[in-house]
């Protein structure tokens, strides 16, 4: 691979320091890849070419002056457009925030800047991160670079597609019910949802506060660990952020799986999983056992209720989180005879159908007389799931499952059937409810040449062990295929 846009962070970093490559070269290669692919994909809502070039130039000058900010120095990275960037439009793919320019940076943005990285642009998502296909964007869907008739997954579909295509070396997404891991699986890249509270949510436009977590998209497990190290750590601006030292997530990266106990989640291994995905995932279980892991089946019966609990808790929280979009102080304002009518008209016009559906669901679930049967019950189920996962981790080091029950589906296939769309997150939702970390690693292609993701989950703050197993999965899978849109032969300018 000669094009710098196809490098991993680690490889690009080595070339930057050997002088073989500059950050400007790297950034130009990434922007060129975006120029070739964007008309097919629409991974980006905002491509900040000027800003990226300036930052790349500054990064080169700093490095030349001996000011090396570490592994992300000079690396072009994309951000999901639900993270606030000072001076750069941030919409969360909603009409209601069209033209809104935040006056402040999200903590992850400040940290990436401090680490010397180059912000390429803001990527597309399902509006307010609500969706599993990136079709719910007010600014048009993103397509899957492996097959542009299919979805990239969601809600961080833009970030996943950009990394798969090479229009960024890495990206950040947010994962509330699988919104990093599921699109990572569908786009054939690595995606990680860290432990809840490990990465500050300050500046992340909230969908469901108790579930949202920012994490990396990269083309290797090691790169994800590197990126996570840069953004993790306590933040005084986020009361739910975890205190304490951030470990070196790469400490055990190449220690293999010999002697580790790996639990296969029984409830995510059945006929609800597409046969090709099941076969591929099952082969990986066997390969890990061959590599010396003790692989056993673990039953987590409460998993079955995860989806239902999630679709009460997340909408309930979003019904409050999205109340601030009322036309009074920022974003869209529609006409109304009274303040209340103005607010109602703004929200009716500014929110898309899926967002409205979830606000209504959540408002209902919290209403007097219904709270206990819906929201209260969902919280009890959440507690039960937490307990079952914690009990499972008494016996195993990590849990594994498919990331997505299917590979990428066709654009429009599920847009008329919300329940079918919600089901796309069945494998990822449980650990949003528990708060535990999980990673998706590409392990192969199905018969339609669409990527399959393998999910590795670990107990809270068990990232080091999770990366260790993920690295072993990556080594075994040796997944070197690239999305057709990432290769210059296929792309016509």
């Amino acid at each position: 691979m000669s094009d710098p846009a196809d490098l991993t962070i680690a490889a690009a970093g080595a070339k930057l320091r050997s002088g073989e490559l500059s950050s400007v070269d790297l950034t130009e290669a990434v922007l060129e890849r975006a120029r070739m692919s964007e008309s097919h994909l629409h991974a980006y809502l905002t491509l900040d070419q000027t800003g990226a070039r300036e930052k790349a130039t500054a990064a080169d000058a700093a490095l030349a002056a001996g000011d090396d900010r570490g592994p992300l120095h000079g690396i072009p990275i994309a951000l999901k457009d639900n993270m606030c960037t000072k001076g750069i439009e941030t919409t969360a793919s909603s009409q209601i925030l069209a033209g809104w320019i935040p006056p402040y940076d999200a903590t992850v943005v400040s940290r990436l800047q401090a680490a010397g990285s180059v912000l390429v642009g803001k990527t597309n998502l399902d509006e307010f991160a609500m969706g599993s296909s990136t079709e719910n964007s007010a600014y048009g869907a993103t397509r899957n670079p492996w097959n542009t008739d299919t979805v990239p997954g969601g809600s961080s579909g833009g970030s996943a597609a950009a990394v798969a295509t090479g229009s960024a070396l890495a990206a950040l997404g947010s994962d509330t019910g699988g919104s990093i891991r599921q699109p990572a699986a569908l786009c054939g890249v690595v995606g990680v949802k860290p432990t809840y509270g490990l990465v500050s949510r300050y500046g992340l436009i909230a969908f469901a506060s108790s579930l949202d977590q920012i994490g990396p998209f990269t083309r290797s497990v090691e790169d994800s660990a590197v990126l996570l190290e840069a953004i993790a750590g306590h933040d005084i601006h986020d009361a739910t952020s975890i205190r304490g030292e951030i470990p070196n997530f790469r400490g055990s990266l190449h220690h293999g799986v010999a002697g580790l106990k790996i639990g296969v989640i029984k409830e995510l291994s059945g006929p609800e999983i597409d046969p090709e995905v099941r076969t591929s995932v099952s082969k990986m279980h066997d390969a890990l056992a061959d590599a010396g892991a003790e692989v056993t089946e673990v039953s987590l019966p409460s998993c079955e209720y995860g989806l239902s609990a999630y679709y009460l808790i997340a909408p309930a929280e979003c019904s409050a989180n999205l109340a601030r979009f009322d036309g009074v102080r920022f974003g869209l304002r529609s006409e109304g005879a009274t303040t209340e009518e103005m607010m109602a008209a703004t929200r009716a016009e500014g929110f898309g159908p899926e967002v409205i559906r979830r606000i209504l669901l959540g408002t209902y679930a919290l209403s007097a007389g219904y709270y206990d049967a819906f929201y209260g019950q969902a919280q009890r189920v959440r507690t039960l799931i937490r307990q079952q996962f914690a009990a499972a981790y008494e016996g195993v080091d990590v849990l594994v499952a498919p990331t997505s029950p299917t590979t990428a589906f066709e654009i429009g296939a599920k847009t008329d059937d919300p329940i079918a769309m919600y089901y796309a997150d069945v494998c990822t939702i449980p650990i949003n409810l528990t708060g535990d970390p999980g990673a998706s690693i590409p392990i192969g292609l199905d018969s339609a040449d669409l990527p399959i993701g393998y999910q590795v989950m670990a107990p809270s703050l068990g990232e080091e062990r999770m990366f260790q197993v993920a690295q072993a999965v990556e080594d075994i899978a040796n997944f070197t295929a690239r999305a057709p849109l990432a290769t210059s032969e296929v792309v016509s300018p």
Binding site: W100, P102, Y104, R201, G203, A206, A320, A323, T338
Partner: protein, 483 residues
């Protein structure tokens, strides 16, 4: 006709004067230009997150502890959801089922009768911004346009809720006044009603005297002084009795007190009231208060008004006077404290401050704190009475002179010529002169009719310009007339 009993509970909001706001680093300052003490957090911008201010938690713990409350080891923040333009997130971070403090009490006194008012809960929340509705009737519905100032948004707010233990408008006022004194003593808020840093909502209902069940209540809002609290509650009790007596039914509603008309009017009924859809605030972790923190707050509490009144009574001060000294005007209490520390006579000085000084201040419309009066003056004055340099009545005149800026008590006594005549031969000469001039009166007394006695004393006092010791004069007249 039925006898009715009023049942009243009061919700009080107190803004804490912390350095920074409840959930962000913006300063808590008043009178700044609109929208200048704001940030993404208190403006509720997308992505912003709240972080609790431990100084505010300390403040509410002080209030709760002063009210004798239990402090919860673990309590929670909830979101209270409602749409209003001055509420930036369209939910208020508040507390719901587990408040930080609960089950306390305040003792209030009305006409010599003590009543315990139970405190149900004391919880922490954030203030809203301020709306200014321009045009129309000053309300959002008919305004031409509205202006929003978010400087107040996110200021720490403590809500104190009583049990329905209050039975009269006078008690309601006494409760409000005592709560204000406690909050000011703690120094956590200036608790100014007219500026809104302390605000009352009164829940008022009536029931036949002796009934066990509570009547339907109306919530009275917009009460901006202790006087209007009393007036509003009195009006509302009266309104409900009239309504029921004329065959009507009290409906559960929110009513607006209008200071000018002296009436409450309906704002919204229960049917229109909102479902706040409370749920635990997922952006915040539970508030944990350790036993050590709780104890430290308790030990650091200043002397509270009730204890201070008791101490003053121990110094010989009358209960009614003690209540005035520990009243809402700090200057009087400070003068008294200062005079006591300098060894002054508590009973005398207490009476002067609560009596003459307050009366002078009202008549002259000058706050006592704005006069030259200092504790040393009071001590000096008491000593002058003690050693008979001044008569009690002359001392009051001297005090007025000191308040008016005429000088120290010694200077005023001198310049107003009020120093008692100490030479007894001078007084005796005056007595003799008066007796000689009123032979009839002397004769009456000698005949056993004591009525003119006071008249004779008065004549001597007049002749001496009030500077004779009245007791000495009485003794001399008695000796000379046999009266």
């Amino acid at each position: 006709m039925t006898d009715y009993e009023a049942v009243i509970g009061i919700e009080t909001h107190v803004e804490l004067m912390t350095d920074s706001k409840m959930f962000c680093g913006c300063p808590v300052k008043f009178g700044e230009p609109p929208n200048t003490t704001t940030c993404p957090v208190c403006l509720g911008l997308p992505g912003a997150l709240p972080v609790p201010n431990s100084e505010a938690i300390e403040g509410i713990l002080q209030i709760g502890t002063a009210l004798g409350c239990q402090v919860a080891d673990t309590s929670f923040f909830h979101r209270k959801n409602y749409f209003y333009p001055d509420l930036p997130k369209n939910y208020q971070i508040s507390q719901y089922d587990v408040p930080i403090c609960h089950d306390g009490e305040i003792q209030v006194e009305v006409d010599g009768e003590d009543t315990k008012i139970g405190i149900t809960r004391v919880h922490m929340e954030e203030d809203t911004g301020k709306s200014i509705h321009v045009g129309g009737g000053g309300r959002i519905h008919d305004a031409e346009y509205s202006l929003l100032d978010f400087n107040r948004s996110g200021v720490p707010l403590v809500e104190i809720v009583t049990e329905p233990d209050i039975r009269s408008a006078e008690q309601a006022r006494a409760y409000g006044a005592e709560l204000q004194r406690i909050v000011r003593t703690l120094g956590v808020s200036d608790a100014r009603l007219e500026e809104g840093s302390m605000r009352f909502d009164a829940n008022v209902s009536i029931r036949p005297a002796g009934a066990a069940e509570l009547g339907t209540r109306a919530e009275v809002k917009n009460v901006n002084s202790l006087r209007s609290l009393q007036r509003a509650v009195a009006f509302e009790i009266h309104r409900q009795i009239e309504l029921v007596e004329s065959g009507g039914v009290v409906v559960q509603e929110t009513r607006h007190w209008n200071e000018d008309s002296g009436k409450t009017t309906s704002m919204r009924s229960k049917e229109e009231s909102e479902d706040y859809r409370y749920f635990q605030e997922p952006d915040l972790v539970p508030i944990e208060v350790s036993a050590a923190w709780r104890d430290a707050v308790r030990e650091a509490l200043p002397e509270l008004p009730a204890a201070r009144r008791a101490r003053y009574q121990g110094l010989g001060v009358d209960a009614r006077v003690a209540a005035v000294l520990v009243g809402s005007e700090d200057a009087i209490g400070d003068l008294f404290e200062g005079a006591m520390n300098a060894g002054g006579d508590g009973r005398l000085i207490g009476n002067w401050l609560s009596g003459e000084a307050v009366a002078w201040s009202r008549a002259e419309e000058v706050a006592i704190g704005d006069t030259p009066l200092v504790p040393a003056h009071l001590v000096e004055l008491a000593e002058m009475v003690g050693d008979s340099t001044l008569s009690a009545s002359a001392a009051k005149q001297v005090l007025a002179g000191v308040l008016a800026g005429e000088g120290t008590p010694g200077e005023v006594a001198e310049s107003r010529d009020l120093i008692q005549i100490s030479d007894s031969s001078v007084i005796e000469a005056e007595v003799d002169a008066v007796l000689a001039g009123h032979a009839d009166a002397v004769a009456s007394i000698q005949a056993g009719d004591n009525k003119p006695f006071g008249f004779l004393v008065g004549q001597v006092m007049r002749a001496t310009g009030g500077k004779a010791d009245p007791k000495q004069v009485s003794d001399l007249i008695r000796a000379k007339t046999g009266g």
